[in-house]
């Protein structure tokens, strides 16, 4: 078990998402930055489906009640074990009674805490990803107890004691710092006139405060008179344009359908990169073709 002594700004349990239930209107959810979460799991030799904690902007304080191993990836929030600084992207041995804490955010927006064997909260509809209305809790609370595997070597300790546990994996810093967000043209892009298209090609966009797991928004507006479409399908990474000119970049908790014109589609890795951006950061859309 792991006890939540304190929460960060917003902590949830996430895995890669809830598939196969979209016909009931259930969002896929799952880790915002699949690249970082998958990295943390693979450093521990976990299955990629293992559930992790996703913490936004600030991290929780966790007390471990069993010996295990953990790995922190994604945003750097100056993690410490008891009072010792620990490195991200490496396997860290944890003893029963140890306390994991986080400090100031150094870079990125979302950090991932993986444990050996994953967090074993109850799966609902095939996933542990927290989502309001599907799981009984939609965020972690102080005093929560999170089940984890208490068999340290459930796949043998030796198998896991490889070089990775001694050195930290070098990560691509571009993942956190990139200014260019790769996009493809969305189905309604052609309805924009040349000047509106140029606006999307050339402008710099700023992430607004209306940004969360469901969607990111930009401060800059694109005047338009596009008609709504007959409610159609969307995915994480779909960029919708509202009649008042807001660009809404859908993220992992987005709905299955939407009625605003879909002007852009982020590449899958750009959704991951976007997840590491926060209020006030700038970006530009970099167009790719298929």
């Amino acid at each position: 078990m792991v006890e939540v002594l304190k929460t960060g700004l917003f902590d949830t349990i996430q895995d890669l998402g809830r598939f196969g239930h979209q016909e009931f209107g259930v969002p896929v959810s799952g880790v915002m930055d699949a690249y970082s979460a998958t990295l943390a799991n693979s450093i521990l030799a976990n299955d990629t489906q293992c559930a992790v904690i996703e913490s936004t902007v600030s991290g929780p304080q966790l007390k471990f009640c069993v010996d295990t191993r953990i790995c922190i990836s994604g945003a750097n929030m100056n993690a410490t074990l008891n009072t010792n600084a620990i490195k991200p992207n490496m396997s860290i041995d944890v003893k029963a009674g140890d306390v994991l804490s986080f400090g100031q955010l150094v870079y990125g927006c979302r950090t991932y805490i993986a444990v050996l064997g994953g967090f074993l909260t109850k799966p609902i509809m095939g996933s542990r990803s927290m989502y309001d209305g599907v799981t009984s809790n939609f965020r972690l609370h102080k005093g929560d107890w999170l089940p984890i595997s208490d068999v340290l070597g459930y796949r043998s300790v030796e198998e896991r004691s490889n070089a990775k546990s001694l050195s930290s994996v070098k990560i691509n810093t571009n993942h956190f710092q990139t200014y260019d967000i790769e996009v493809f043209k969305g189905p309604e892009f052609v309805q924009l006139d040349a000047e509106q298209q140029r606006f999307l090609f050339d402008s710099e966009f700023t992430i607004s405060k209306e940004s969360n797991r469901m969607a990111y928004q930009c401060n800059e507006r694109l005047d338009n008179s596009l008609n709504s479409i007959i409610t159609s399908l969307v995915l994480p990474g779909t960029v919708q344009l509202t009649p008042s000119g807001e660009l809404i970049i859908l993220m992992r908790d987005c709905q299955i359908t939407g009625g605003y014109p879909r002007v852009l589609q982020l590449s899958e890795n750009s959704v991951n990169m976007m997840s590491q951006k926060f209020l006030g950061q700038k970006l530009k859309f970099k167009f790719s073709s298929w």
Binding site: F19, E23, F24, G133, V134, T231, L233, L235
Partner: protein, 243 residues
Amino acid sequence: MDFELIYHRFSERSILVEWPSEITENTLKDVLIFKNHLLNSGIKSIVQINNAYNSILIIYDLTIDKINDEISTLKASYSIRVSTNKCAFRHWRIPVCYDDEFGLDLDEISEEKKLSKSEIIRLHSDTIYTVFFIGFLPGFLYLGGLDKRLHFPRKESPRVNIKKGAVAIGGEQTGVYPKASPGGWNIIGNSPLEFFNPKNYTPCFASSGDKIQFFPIDKTEYDAIVSQIENGTYFIERKVIDG
């Protein structure tokens, strides 16, 4: 009848197929036939297909390598599509209490539309609605068929908290809020039924293509149904219809 379909590459791993821009039952029927045909055709790389009024989104397991080949395969599948299992749609009867306690906007609609409340209730519960798809919230049914006389614009500023089960009218649509939520639709009643329960094997009883009809109940019946649902002894009235 074959529709002119448009195929768009949507993302690395998905293709959007669009039917002509209209909301009709014929379109829905063809959307569902093609969707089910693809799901049953054993194309292993297809992991999921979502549908809306006039579109399907086909999601593949890996980045699509040769998009033209993939689209040709889809076009070929469309031309030979067959309605496999004689689509068994269901007709659901949904109890709704239209009492003033629940029907917060009935007075306003009645005044604006020059219809008595009982007339509104009759028009709303006479119609047999078609479930086009489920979206917006888990278990929120997009229903087609609202009587024109009941079309009523959404509220200028949405309510912060609409009660679970609220039956509402938004523009040309009607629907039921499966859980408490903010929303801008006009509320005319409340259904005691559970439209979404993640603990059930099938979390929402209805699916695309089914029919829904509302029937009025009073508060005593409403309370009785609530306790039957709690005890697990309430079964929604339904019959199977041919698609």
